[in-house]
Symmetry: C2
Subunit: 361 residues, 2 copies
């Protein structure tokens, strides 16, 4: 394998989801967790693009609070490539900032917006898809990787594809017709019936000049702010300007701000073993099981327990006579719920907020 010319992976690692509480915390979100391996999700994200771009081509956008953690986990990436947001904003400002940084570095830069908190088990297919996407992006398209839907999920964005544009590196590529944020159930079912829809993976590939032009057209306030940030880059005022401008930027997602309006987009449907690890149920699905269907990490004694997820950080977890449950033990908190209630972890987090039990958040 060889590096892709002018290719710059930009890993978004600012998230602070609550759906994997109690392992994910405000100060230690999902991207810094390990699942079934030595590497954290962030490190896996980096390892996936490592053969495609040299370390100094890799950028990470994260909350400034996480800069040190990111640096420790990705020591090969130059610290100047770690972009620390002054406060959490949505994805459009984060991506825009990376774009202005890259534009000054390389006018022919192609950036890949990648997520730090998803699992991609078919890494070779993913890498080939990125090569295809870069080629399509170099023809001026806004490219997105689409995931084949397995159910009419209402938690994802949907991408409708149109006519075929051709085949790159073995991947058929289609015109992007429409981008629809989280639909209701009936709409999602209708989408699936057409056979023309993919899930939005949150991964985008485009030339930097192209995406900045889209931002200029569709998010002019963001564009204006980014230009101020861009002018200050490399000057002593760089950080001060960023901190001044950042809170004024629109708190908008790239999906809503750009992708829903984009012309000349392309979608590449991919089969890359994608899992957004959006719940303990998703973690259960991802982990290897024993003969009883249990996914277990750490010390456990399970008697008459089946199809359950049991994760211990340190203490012995003993379960008798319960199946299809989730048990997650951490240093200061334990979660116990049926797998089918895994989404309700948010309600625990909300209850903790309501009670002011900040230490557990």
């Amino acid at each position: 394998m060889s590096y892709i010319p002018h290719f710059y992976p930009v890993i978004l690692a600012g998230g602070s989801g609550t759906r994997l509480w109690p392992r994910s915390r405000k100060g230690h979100p999902k991207q810094f967790l390990r699942f079934n391996g030595e590497r954290t999700l962030l490190q896996e994200s980096y390892a996936r693009v490592d053969p495609l771009a040299p370390p100094d081509h890799v950028y990470v956008v994260t909350n400034h609070r996480f800069l040190e953690q990111v640096h420790q986990q990705l020591p090969a990436v130059p610290p100047s490539n770690l972009l620390g947001e002054p406060i959490g904003r949505n994805t459009a400002p984060a991506i825009g900032w990376a774009a202005v940084v890259l534009q000054q570095r390389d006018p022919d830069a192609v950036m890949a917006v990648l997520t730090a908190d998803h699992i991609i088990s078919k890494v070779d297919a993913f890498r080939r898809a990125l090569r295809a996407a870069v080629d399509v992006a170099n023809e001026g398209r806004i490219v997105t990787l689409g995931i084949e839907p397995t159910e009419p999920a209402t938690g994802y964005g949907y991408i409708e594809r149109g006519k075929p544009l051709g085949t790159w590196h073995g991947f058929p590529v289609y015109e992007l017709v429409r981008f629809t944020e989280k639909p209701d159930r009936a709409t999602a079912e209708a989408f699936l019936r057409t056979g023309r829809y993919s899930w939005n993976s949150g991964m985008f590939i485009w030339r930097v000049d192209r995406v900045l032009e889209e931002i200029r057209q569709h998010l002019p306030a963001l564009y204006e702010g980014l230009m101020r940030v861009g002018q200050a880059l490399g000057t002593p005022d760089e950080r001060a300007i960023l901190e001044e401008v950042w809170p004024t930027l629109p708190n908008t997602s790239i999906d809503f701000g750009i992708m829903e309006h984009v012309q000349e987009g392309a979608v590449i449907p991919v089969d890359i073993g994608w899992n957004d690890v959006g719940s303990w149920e998703a973690v259960y699905e991802e982990l290897p099981k024993d003969g009883e269907g249990n996914a277990v990490e750490g010390q456990a004694v399970l008697i008459d327990v089946h199809n359950s997820l049991v994760l211990s950080d340190g203490r012995l977890v003993s379960v008798v006579g319960l199946s299809d449950i989730v048990v997650v033990e951490t240093e200061d908190a334990i979660l116990i719920c049926p797998r089918e209630r895994a989404q309700d972890v948010r309600r625990v987090v909300q209850a903790l907020k309501d009670r002011g039990w900040e230490d557990y958040l």
Copy 2:
């Protein structure tokens, strides 16, 4: 209230049950645990007899490993009243030892054999019953307190009562007809139908000379050993003789060795709020519940949880969408099981033994 003359409570505190794992441990058995209060079960046992006998009349028989814990929990009891068994034997040797000690101290001693690991919520009734029992014992009877059965349990001994002997302190007292160790279900059901059976509480009241005579008749090997121990009492050889004799004593329960053969026994049926705390289900029944039927101690977030026992020693326990379960969190282990499987805690303990995970026992 006044002290009962010649009255000596003997608390048996040698047990090391596994049914309340992970709170009860080999080195920290049930009698040293707190439930719903400031005092441990052992301290409650002492407090119940405190108005009936001065502290130096109270004796505790326990494993020598627990002497220090007992002393710390019962500082008012003279250390010389704490009898430390060299190794764990059954109840007959423990009771016999206390009897020979008391016989030398007070030839008119009446001893009450009391348990250290049961809950008795109606303390006044219990104290009055003891007063009645002492009066009956002073007429030469072997007296036992009988608990009104609420179900045909197979885990208890059953006492059949015969003709009324009269009323003492408001308690009708009956002749003891028969003592039957843990019957099968059908037998237990038949017992209940007669209306003549009580559960064996494990609490006995008798004159010391009377019980030693029973031991001489029915357990002659034990009697012989006890006489050797008795001759050495107060001599420099006391401990050496005890340690030599003790392992040779028959490992027999007082129920099996004496009570099943006793003549001129008496039973006093009592309503004293007795609970042997023999399982987490029994603990659940004993503790106060909130509006959802949950008994909770420590930090917990419960969402859609009903009729459950949740005990935390330190960490936050969060449960979503499970009912009728037991969650017990301790420093190094957690138990999770349905209330109806509470008896299967033994299987966890067995699994720990099988795996050699001694630290958790």
